[in-house]
């Protein structure tokens, strides 16, 4: 076994797929940031709000006023450097740090896609993505046409985990038996040309649910095998374009389509690079050296355990929810960072009451005074948001001179078409509760049952 693994680490393959991946990754990230910036979202999401929701343990990471633009600029520039492969190692580290910083600033904007970009860029730090068809290789005059196979396989593994886990998460009774939440979302897309009318049909909701689950569970394997690869790639394109048409998911579909190219044989990547060299004028032939990259064993000794731990975390983290009692979709304890994508239509309403413990005098908070509509929407359905906001309200009103401040919330949440019901125990003073990884006992248990993973 150990021998086999050592043999595997000695195997080499063409560097072209990784080079293409690096170029497209950098390009997609650059477009994403320009798009984000041009929509005015930096201002809207990170400058205008007065309060930001932090990840537990990361409350020191906040937007830094107008300098927040500098972080985005840094992120964009490093994306360009990654794309052209110039000072690659430094560039990808800066990209990882700046992108992750942006994501940690306010968890209101959390998306699985952003988390995916964060951990993918972390992985890329350890890969020799600049050894071929990069400015680094050109300047150094050393280009390696062959690199260790594992440096490409780890990307395939990560993509495979994302898809497969997203598929596993769909194996629940809401998705498969009730076709929820698609049964809510699809009818609202009645105005899409050609298929709008179909969106009202029950069988379409079920068809979409089942195809979605089967797609996610099988696509990594279909992409892996040469015979099914073309078909799989067509499915990738159709699936992601369809989700792009139906849902507001930004750049992610394109990133996944481009990312799936990594599964192909290197001849396709050589063709892509030929095309790029014709357009850019950077001649591909000068990189075709047939040289083999040998990563220093000193380095490999560090990389192996780091990536080992990385993937163990990736495999286990999505299952951490089993450590918590109650329904995952309802409490959301262990919901994030688990590839649970598009599983819930959850809406909520949270009305905070400030009470003077001694006199009993009380008043309600107007959430508009503190939170943007987007933040209110996210806050109302997630207990950790509700707690952080309640703690903030307590300190805010204490600073204003209020005495003996207690914070209660009257909140209602509706999940996947069920009638709304009370979410947080209205008798619990949230001002006294502290955030932790422990189960939040003041969440009122879910009234229904959702079976499955």
């Amino acid at each position: 076994m150990k021998f086999q693994l050592n043999e595997y680490f000695k195997k080499n393959t063409e560097a072209a797929p990784l080079a293409v991946f690096r170029i497209f990754f950098g390009l997609m990230m650059l477009i994403s940031i320009i798009r984000f910036w041009s929509y005015g979202w930096i201002d809207k999401l990170y400058i205008q709000p007065t309060f930001f929701f932090s990840y537990y343990g990361f409350d020191f990471i906040k937007p830094i006023g107008n300098y927040t633009y500098v972080i985005f600029l840094l992120c964009a520039i490093s994306a360009i450097f990654v794309m052209i492969g110039y000072k690659y190692r430094l560039a990808i580290i800066v990209f990882f740090l700046s992108f992750t910083y942006i994501e940690l600033m306010d968890k209101t904007t959390y998306l699985n896609h952003y988390y995916f970009i964060s951990i993918l860029s972390f992985l890329l730090i350890f890969l020799p993505a600049n050894s071929y068809y990069s400015l680094d290789a050109k300047l150094k005059g050393v280009s390696f046409q062959k690199i260790p196979s594992w440096t490409i396989d780890v990307i395939k593994l990560l993509l495979g985990i994302v898809y497969f886990y997203a598929g596993l998460a769909k194996l629940n009774s809401d998705w498969l038996v009730k076709a929820m939440p698609l049964k809510i979302w699809l009818p609202s897309k009645y105005d899409i040309p050609l298929i709008g009318d179909l969106m009202q049909e029950q069988w379409v909701h079920y068809a979409f649910s089942y195809t979605g689950a089967i797609y996610d569970l099988t696509i990594p394997f279909l992409l892996l095998f040469r015979k099914t690869r073309i078909f799989a790639f067509i499915m990738v394109v159709v699936f992601h374009v369809l989700t792009r048409v139906l849902f507001p998911i930004g750049m992610f579909p394109y990133i996944m389509i481009v990312g799936a190219l990594i599964f192909f044989e290197s001849n396709i990547h050589h063709k892509i690079l030929q095309f790029i060299s014709r357009v850019s004028g950077v001649k591909k032939v000068t990189f075709d050296t047939n040289e083999i990259l040998n990563i220093q064993s000193r380095r490999v000794k560090i990389i192996k355990p780091v990536l080992g731990v990385f993937f163990v975390i990736q495999l286990l983290l999505p299952f951490r929810y089993v450590l918590y009692p109650g329904e995952l979709f309802w409490t959301e304890e262990g919901y994030r960072f688990s590839w649970r994508v598009m599983l819930m239509e959850k809406a909520g309403y949270a009305n905070f009451k400030i009470v003077n413990e001694k006199t009993g005098q009380r008043f309600y908070v107007d959430n508009d005074d503190f939170l943007t509509p987007f933040q209110q929407k996210q806050m109302a359905t997630q207990p950790d948001f509700i707690l952080e906001y309640a703690n903030y309200l307590k300190s805010h009103f204490e600073k204003q001179g209020h005495q003996n401040v207690q914070v209660f919330v009257e909140s209602y949440v509706a999940l996947n078409g069920r009638l709304s019901s009370q979410y947080i125990d209205p008798k619990v003073d949230l001002g006294k509760q502290k955030e932790s990884f422990k189960h939040k006992t003041w969440i009122i248990p879910f009234k229904d049952e959702i079976k499955g993973l």
């Binding site: 298929i195 009202q200 379409v204 159709v238």
Partner: protein, 371 residues
């Protein structure tokens, strides 16, 4: 794009074939036509309501000029009556902050309260003011008229005295006329837009995007219910947000005994809108209610429209016990006011959580990417 559409169709046909063997009974869920809904709202609710309001505004304008030309107590009473009628009529249109109304901030210029009596006096004595300025919203609209015809003094004789004063009377007359003229002009502007091009663009914007008519209108409806009915008319005076009752924050504070009438008119208008009830008629058409009922046949859930209507009715029943003058109510027995608030509050949950979820409408253009 064309090619992609072709692919989609192919995939869907494949899916159709794959699923045809299942024993899904394929209930006949006829497509709900959102355009009919928008037509019903525009033609049978919004436009007739604006037309009726516009007639009442014109009458208010006439009563104002009558009062200015013959300034006496009997004309003051006439003017007050015309003002009350228009103010009640306003409650049927105030929620439709869309199109021209949204563009010119109709509601904020027509009915901000409390108004600033000090600033109004300043405007009157200086004679220079720009009513189109956003900073002048507290000095105009129904609330300012309330001050000018009800609030200057306790006795009608004394109020008339302000307008007949040899030196400053003309300033009062001018200000009164300017306010009413501006309100009437804005009303015509909004109505003309509806009867002109806007009706068609409103009805044809029947898509599902964040800027579609239904999305915007539903957001307006909920916003109005939450901010202007629940909070503005009941919650704020009852001290829900301040801890102590604020008896000076009620609508039509100087008139006093009109606040409950205004509240009820607005509550009725909101419920009628929800049910698609034609303006001043018992006929109903396509509405949020029928849309929810249609969607319920798909997902087979709770009878939400019924819950919402019941809650509207409960709030109305509780409110029957309130004093005609909310200011008086807040001072004497605020708990009844708070009870009314609580019943109104329950419908916020149904409307904002359950209804929005059912019809998959986002709260106020949260425009960012999703998963």
């Amino acid at each position: 794009m064309k090619r992609f559409r072709f692919l989609t169709v192919v995939v869907l046909v494949l899916l159709a074939v794959a699923c045809s063997s299942s024993d899904e009974s394929g209930e006949a869920t006829d497509n709900f036509d959102r355009k009919t809904l928008l037509e019903n709202i525009a033609d049978n609710i919004v436009i007739p309501a604006y037309q009726s309001f516009s007639v009442d505004m014109a009458a208010l304008r006439t009563a104002t000029s009558d009062f200015v030309s013959t300034t006496d107590e009997s004309n003051l009473v006439e003017l007050r009556q015309a003002w009350s009628t228009a103010f009640v009529s306003w409650q049927s249109v105030s929620m439709f902050e869309i199109g021209k109304a949204e563009e010119i901030s109709f509601r904020n210029f027509m009915n901000v309260y409390p108004v600033s009596s000090t600033n109004i006096e300043t405007n009157i004595s200086s004679g220079t003011y720009d009513l189109t300025s956003v900073s002048q919203q507290d000095e105009q609209g129904f609330g300012s008229l309330d001050f000018l015809i009800n609030g200057l003094s306790d006795s009608d004789t004394a109020i008339v005295g302000f307008y007949t004063d040899a030196t400053t009377g003309v300033n009062y007359e001018n200000y009164l006329t300017d306010l009413v003229t501006r309100m009437d002009d804005m009303t015509s502007e909004v109505l003309n837009d509806w009867t002109g091009d806007f009706r068609d663009s409103f009805v044809n914007n029947s898509g599902s995007s964040a800027t579609s008519s239904l999305d915007k209108l539903v957001n307006d409806f909920i916003f109005h219910y939450e901010k202007h009915l629940r909070a503005g008319k009941i919650g704020i005076p009852a001290g829900v947000f301040s801890g102590t009752p604020l008896d000076d924050r009620v609508e039509a504070i100087y008139k006093g005994d009109l606040s409950k009438t205004l509240f009820n008119a607005n509550l009725d208008a909101l419920q009628d809108f929800f049910n698609g009830k034609h303006f001043t008629s018992n006929t109903t058409g396509q509405s949020l209610k029928t849309y929810l009922d249609f969607l319920n046949t798909i997902k087979d859930g709770e009878d939400l429209s019924n819950l919402i209507n019941n809650q509207f009715n409960t709030a109305r029943t509780i409110a029957t016990n309130l004093n005609e003058d909310f200011s008086e109510q807040v001072r004497t027995n605020n708990s009844l006011m708070l009870n009314t608030y609580d019943e109104l509050q329950k419908n916020v949950v149904f409307l904002k959580v359950d209804m929005l979820q059912a019809i998959a409408i986002n709260i106020d253009f949260v425009d960012a990417d999703g998963d």
